[in-house]
């Protein structure tokens, strides 16, 4: 596991935790109507995100983490729809907002960064055209002024000779450079919220590290809140303040990075941490979570993880609620007590039998 160096104190002391959150998602349900039936892709997700904080949204493919991000942005298309729940962005409910008002927020007050920088930049438009479009969609800035702003934003993302890059087409830039451009486009209008949907997954590890550190710096400087969607716990560990682990459309464990990663309570979270290759001991077989992600059309009646869970018992046929983690019998009681005493996100877990992991993954984590 990478060291978690992100300083919580600097951010949390600057912003009182009691302030109104930038984003509050309440019991969000997003469904897709398919021929085979109704897919509950996001099934009652809720969290708060305060100013300047980073939430890591973690889960396997198909756990609904990306759809959660798209739902917040209002980018869910038919056959999908937000069936119920609230997405409160600075107090306004985005889930009930009309498209026009939503569009004036998108790319302006909130922005999204996508996974594949090859696909998110328009291949036939020059970088300056694409950046100017985003500025013009939201402000009346003159062209010369806007171009200066584009150059500055590119430079802020660590792009050398930005004036030249502005005249380039996407295919003339490397993958890392393209993702920097895509991030710069997201930053153009100084959004309060950035939703990053696995933006470093498609990149080399070295480039990934560069971009991560730039994002870290950026959040610290601008006080932008961010949701970082990823399947990669080690990336999230270095960047996020809070982590929400998703499984089959639900949050199964939620809390501060330290609480969730040092003291995972849900067997699924423990499985995720245990299956990191870096957690593995040499010469030993890599660990994995047995079984497959469930079919959303045919979810088990209670806990969705029960069929794969080593702790499953008859009671797991009832749906468990998200409850505060009970930290009795924890290996490091001192650390846990400290974390739960500190102001911040309450460590919660959706399991009837939470508890520390068995020795094997414990030693790894």
């Amino acid at each position: 596991m990478k060291p978690r160096t992100m300083s919580h104190d600097s951010v949390s002391s600057a912003v009182p935790t009691q302030a109104a959150p930038v984003l509050e998602v309440k019991d969000l349900h997003t469904q897709f109507d398919t021929r085979a039936g109704r897919l509950p892709v996001v099934n009652g997700v809720g969290f708060r995100l305060e100013k300047g904080k980073v939430l890591g949204l973690v889960g396997e493919s198909g756990s609904g983490k990306s759809v959660t991000g798209f739902s917040i942005m209002g980018l869910i298309d038919a056959p999908g729809r937000i069936a119920s729940g609230e997405v409160l962005f600075q107090g306004q409910d985005l889930a009930r907002m009309d498209q026009r008002a939503l569009r004036s927020l998108r790319g302006n007050r909130m922005a999204m960064i996508f996974q594949d920088p090859m696909a998110t930049l328009n291949p036939v438009l020059r970088i300056d055209v694409q950046m100017l479009e985003t500025i013009r969609a939201h402000s009346k800035m003159g062209k010369a002024e806007a171009l200066v702003h584009c150059r500055q934003t590119l430079a802020r993302m660590g792009i050398p000779s930005p004036a030249e890059r502005l005249k380039a087409y996407p295919h003339q830039l490397s993958g890392g450079m393209r993702q920097r451009v895509a991030i710069a486009i997201a930053l153009l209008n100084d959004p309060e919220l950035i939703i990053a949907d696995e933006p470093t997954t498609a990149l080399d590890v070295t480039i990934q590290a560069q971009i991560l550190s730039e994002m870290q710096q950026l959040v610290r400087e601008t006080g932008t809140s961010m949701i970082w969607i990823s399947h990669d716990l080690s990336v999230v560990a270095g960047l996020a303040d809070d982590i929400a682990v998703m499984y089959a459309g639900r949050i199964v464990e939620h809390g501060s990075v330290d609480a969730v990663l040092d003291n995972p309570q849900h067997p699924y979270t423990q499985g995720l941490i245990g299956s990191l290759p870096s957690a593995n001991q040499r010469q030993r077989r890599l660990q994995q979570i047995s079984g497959m992600a469930p079919n959303l059309l045919d979810l088990p009646p209670g806990c969705a993880f029960a069929p794969r869970c080593p702790r499953a018992q008859p009671r797991c046929a009832q749906p468990p609620a998200l409850v505060p983690a009970v930290d009795a019998g924890v290996a490091t009681p001192h650390a846990t007590a400290q974390i739960n005493a500190a102001p911040g996100t309450l460590h919660t877990v959706r399991c009837f039998f939470p508890g520390p992991a068995p020795d094997l993954s414990r030693s790894a984590a």
């Binding site: 569009r103 996508f114 328009n122 479009e133 985003t134 969609a137």
Partner: protein, 311 residues
């Protein structure tokens, strides 16, 4: 073909040359000029276009000015001397005493005007309709595409004959007719391409940036649909010219006083059996060269712009 294999290493071009920034269009131009037949076609086409543009300066006679025609000079062999005007009829004269060389150059004008004009208008109309179909979807899409299917399943020449018979002769009417029978090709391609492009991630990204739908459609999706449409347009110019020649040959195209290439061929047709071959032959050669040149250029455009051959 051989030029295709030489065009393949295009994909191996360096992805990012920090020194110089090359535009997509200069790359396309570069790839285009790799094929010798395409260069040949382009040169012929340029000559044809220049001749048509500067026809009055390149010809001894205005074939549409009846005052300049001399009936005594009719059906002279190539290379004959004019009785009155003192110039040589290098390609002979037709039944009205027109200098065939002048008539061909002026005829090229009409043919190119009709071909390019109708292809351009049809491209704009068809693309807009196709984009509307792709964007609107549902019933609008179904209705538009059934009309397109109907048009495409009908023999073009038959439909053109019907429309022209109803509207009457004239260059404007010929262009209108060709637009009516050809827009469907563009509409079908534009719709298909737009449907593919709409699902690409850059469209999501553009929406995520809060850009208005119509701007995404025209500013982001349309430019990505252009390559196949350009290819169709190039080939449709040739088709339109042939169709105009056919219609004129059948006597339904341009007026007899302003002959296009097709009408010139038609006029000479009656003299073919009396060994006065040149009246039909030379306009036919001009038509052939033009069509072949356009098709060579169009084929190479297709190879260069086809993403499957590129990557």
């Amino acid at each position: 073909m051989n030029q295709r294999s030489t065009a393949t290493p295009v994909a191996a071009r360096p992805p990012a040359d920090p020194g110089k920034v090359q535009s997509i269009w200069s790359q396309i131009a570069h790839d285009f000029l790799r094929s010798k037949p395409a260069i040949f076609g382009l040169v012929i086409l340029l000559i044809v276009v220049l001749m048509a543009l500067f026809a009055p300066y390149l010809t001894p006679q205005n074939p549409y000015d009846l005052m300049q025609l001399d009936v005594l000079d009719s059906r002279l062999e190539p290379g004959s001397q004019s009785m009155e005007h003192g110039y040589t009829y290098w390609l002979g004269t037709d039944g009205q005493g027109r200098d065939l060389y002048s008539a061909i150059v002026y005829g090229l004008r009409i043919s190119l005007l009709v071909g390019v004009g109708s292809a351009a208008i049809a491209a704009v109309v068809g693309t807009v309709v196709g984009l509307i179909a792709a964007y609107a979807g549902g019933k609008v899409d179904a209705l538009i595409m059934r009309v397109v299917d109907l048009l495409l399943s009908f023999p073009t020449i038959l439909m053109a004959l019907m429309i022209l018979a109803y509207m009457g002769k004239g260059i404007g009417n010929v262009i209108l007719t060709l637009v009516l029978v050809e827009w469907a090709y563009y509409a079908r391609t534009a719709r298909g391409q737009a449907l593919v492009e709409t699902r690409r991630e850059y469209v999501d990204a553009a929406r995520g940036q809060g850009i208005a739908q119509w701007r995404i459609l025209l500013g982001h999706i349309l430019p990505n649909c252009l390559p196949p449409l350009l290819v169709i347009a190039a080939l449709q110019v040739a088709r339109a010219i042939t169709l105009e020649a056919t219609l004129s040959f059948l006597g339904l195209g341009v007026p007899i006083t302003e002959p296009s290439l097709g009408l010139l061929i038609s006029n000479g047709y009656q003299y073919l059996l009396s060994n006065e071959y040149w009246i039909s032959f030379f306009p036919g050669v001009a038509l052939l060269l033009t069509i072949v040149a356009i098709n060579l250029v169009g084929d190479q455009l297709r190879d260069v712009l086809n993403p499957r051959l590129q990557k």
